[in-house]
């Protein structure tokens, strides 16, 4: 009898926590998303599904822009993270843990502070641009802040470790003898990377994409600190609807549309990549 209860007792604290702080708010938010009214006179449940249509229609640009920024940022993190992870896994020798710590070091500073420091770095007369302008390499009115480049750059910087770590773990698990076997079977270095190391590390890339694309797409800090009015992401809109306009139903509807789109996207992605292959390689 006791043995049957024990496992449930173990998940009880976590389960209760999730119930109180995830499930209940989600249900509450779902309810709000179909209400009407305003913050002064109160909101009334009218099952007003038009909230969704209105939200999507009004902010289609921001939805598409967020997805675009998320994709671009994710692609950039893969390009930057893979060589770093590869180098730490295969070339760093005894210093592996030191370099991993360096990858994680930015986490010791708050996310917002790090983004603000990027603002200083990229400022029009900051330490990066001003010297280049002084020597005439850049025109005097050149700027990076308040552009797409700045926002995607910030996103890439902030989420890079989430891509490095899973790729590193996947590469670390590749048996060096399997790579030797490929070389023994006439594979060039290029061949053994493309046909052995890369396919075996894909589960890490898969995990990294999930861990970067989702938060990047929903991010609002980078766009609000580094971007301009033309870089507004859907996260900024949701924040504004809740905190500035006090239009809770619109904010809730936007949040649910974002969540649904993300879930559909992830399932499509897993399907396309072949979860079976990915899981099989990961289960090795």
């Amino acid at each position: 009898m006791r043995q049957k209860i024990a496992p449930y007792l173990l998940i009880l604290p976590g389960g209760l926590w999730l119930l109180c702080f995830l499930v209940v708010p989600l249900v509450f938010m779902a309810s709000v998303s179909t209400q009407e009214g305003d913050v002064v006179n109160g909101f009334v449940q009218t099952f007003h599904l038009a909230n969704f249509g209105n939200a999507l229609g009004e902010y289609k640009t921001q939805f598409l822009r967020s997805a675009g920024y998320g994709l671009a940022g994710t692609a950039l993190t893969i390009l930057l993270a893979y060589p770093v992870a590869y180098w730490i896994a295969f070339k760093a020798g005894a210093r592996k843990s030191t370099y991993l710590l360096l990858v994680l070091l930015p986490f010791f500073v708050s996310f917002v502070l790090r983004t603000v420091s990027w603002k200083f770095l990229l400022a029009d007369d900051g330490i990066l641009l001003q010297p280049l302008k002084d020597v005439g390499l850049l025109p005097a009115d050149f700027h990076v802040l308040q552009t797409t480049v700045a926002v995607i750059g910030g996103l890439t910087y902030n989420y890079l470790p989430f891509m490095v770590l899973p790729i590193y773990v996947a590469l670390e698990r590749v048996d060096p003898r399997v790579v030797e076997a490929a070389q023994d079977l006439y594979a060039t270095r290029r061949d053994s990377f493309l046909r052995i190391v890369l396919p075996l590390s894909l589960p890490g890339v898969f995990a990294g994409v999930l861990m970067t694309f989702v938060p990047m797409t929903a991010d609002y800090v980078n766009a609000s600190i580094l971007g301009g009015p033309a870089n507004t992401m859907i996260g900024n809109i949701i924040q504004t609807e809740y905190l500035v306009n006090n239009d809770y139903p619109a904010g809730a509807a936007l949040s649910f549309i974002l969540m649904a789109a993300m879930l559909i996207g992830i399932f499509a992605y897993a399907k396309a990549l072949g979860t079976e292959n990915v899981l099989e390689a990961a289960a090795r």
């Binding site: 048996d175 399997v178 030797e180 076997a181 070389q183 023994d184 006439y186 594979a187 061949d191 052995i196």
Partner: protein
């Protein structure tokens, strides 16, 4: 006809007239590692040559340098000094993917994300063999290793023995000029290992490829090999056929490593006609064939295999070697009895007695016995003997 063509044609028949070029030659090969500012020699100078079609084993305890030596033949390690030649061609600085030898790894190292067919076809595809030929050769090879019908399995879905055969097929399908096997049966249980030993011998006869086999299992090396290099501490202690290695170990290390062997040391009291008489104790004497270098009064170590010794209560004839001892342990082992005997001189001997006629035991624990053997069945170690 140009001069170059003429030269080629003249050279070709001449090469096949002389004695065949060895498949693999190592010439003074040394491998040093630098660790914590110290130089560690894993291989301290190995020279050997392996003939075409030979089943050659490198046998020794772990850390003796046998695997490092094999990895230098495969090209995974660069020798610090010395030369590696494959079929007369210096390949010392040639990377593994351009050496015409293939390896079967200890843990098989199969490609986990590929099925059996793709694993076996990997080498042929890298060599850009036409797809139709790949299909034929992979099919044939899977038949040889008895895996037809399992082409679509992933390595993880197969047993250890099956994975072993995939690894073998993956290497052999390329028709390499030599196959290197690094403890390939180490992960299998005893029954399967013995079956695979027979299987490997059969396959080797069938394909006629040079096999270089690394193992720490003396039985495996003795059963399968044409020749064995017994290695210890980065050096080859003895290189000979299985029978000679077993019957006439060249060093105390080989005597101790291969099978059970009894060691006895004493002073040569008399040397004449290639035989030394070693006086051990009262009524006891040991006769042993020795080389020219043994002088009277010199120290001699004698080794004799347990199955060559006769155990008895009566004093044996004068023309055999005979020593006395007390039985300290008797173990019944089915086909034979094993006795542990403490000699008067202090050495401990192991004696095997075949249960050929009856299974009764000749001597009980605690009894005083005579041990005797024919002088030609014993060997003096250190000074090589000829019989």
């Amino acid at each position: 006809m140009t001069d170059i063509q003429a030269g080629k044609e003249a050279a070709a028949p001449a090469a096949s007239d002389i004695s065949p070029v060895p498949a693999i030659e190592l010439d003074g090969v040394v491998k040093e590692y630098h660790a914590h500012g110290e130089v560690v020699q894993a291989v301290k100078g190995v020279s050997l040559s392996i003939a075409e079609g030979e089943f050659f084993s490198m046998l020794g305890p772990s850390g003796c340098g046998k695997t490092t030596t094999m990895r230098m033949i495969a090209g995974f390690e660069d020798p610090s000094r010395g030369t590696v030649r494959l079929h007369g061609q210096d390949v010392t600085n040639v990377p593994p993917n351009r050496r015409d030898v293939n390896m079967v790894f200890q843990s098989y190292a199969l490609f986990p994300h590929m099925n059996v067919w793709e694993n076996v076809a990997f080498g042929l595809r890298r060599k850009r063999v036409p797809e139709a030929e790949i299909k034929r050769r992979v099919g044939e090879m899977l038949e040889i290793v008895d895996l037809t019908g399992r082409e679509n399995r992933r390595p993880r879905q197969m047993s250890g023995g099956q994975q072993q055969r995939v690894a073998l097929a993956r290497a052999l399908v390329n028709n390499p000029r030599a196959l290197l096997l690094d403890e390939p049966l180490g992960a299998l249980d005893l029954k399967l290992r013995q079956a695979m030993q027979m299987e490997l011998k059969r396959i080797q006869r069938e394909v006629g490829i040079t096999f270089v086999y690394v193992t720490h299992d003396q039985n495996e090396a003795l059963t399968m090999s044409d020749r064995i290099a017994v290695m210890n501490d980065g050096l080859v202690e003895q290189l000979a056929g299985p029978r000679e290695i077993y019957e006439r170990p060249a060093t105390t290390f080989v005597a101790g490593f291969i099978g059970t062997s009894n060691l006895l040391s004493g002073t040569a009291a008399q040397v004449s006609g290639g035989t030394a008489v070693i006086r051990v104790g009262d009524g006891e004497r040991v006769l042993v064939p020795v080389g020219d270098r043994t002088r009277e009064g010199g120290q001699v170590e004698v080794t004799v295999r347990p199955e060559k010794i006769r155990i008895s209560h009566e004093q044996p004839d004068a023309d055999v070697s005979a020593v006395r001892g007390v039985v300290s342990e008797v173990v019944y082992l089915g086909t034979y009895n094993s006795y542990a005997v403490n000699l008067a001189s202090g050495a401990e001997f192991t004696v095997f007695e075949q249960n050929a006629r009856d299974s009764s035991i000749t001597a009980e624990r605690g009894e005083s016995v005579w041990l005797s053997w024919q002088p030609q069945h014993s060997y003096a170690i250190g000074s090589r003997t000829t019989s």
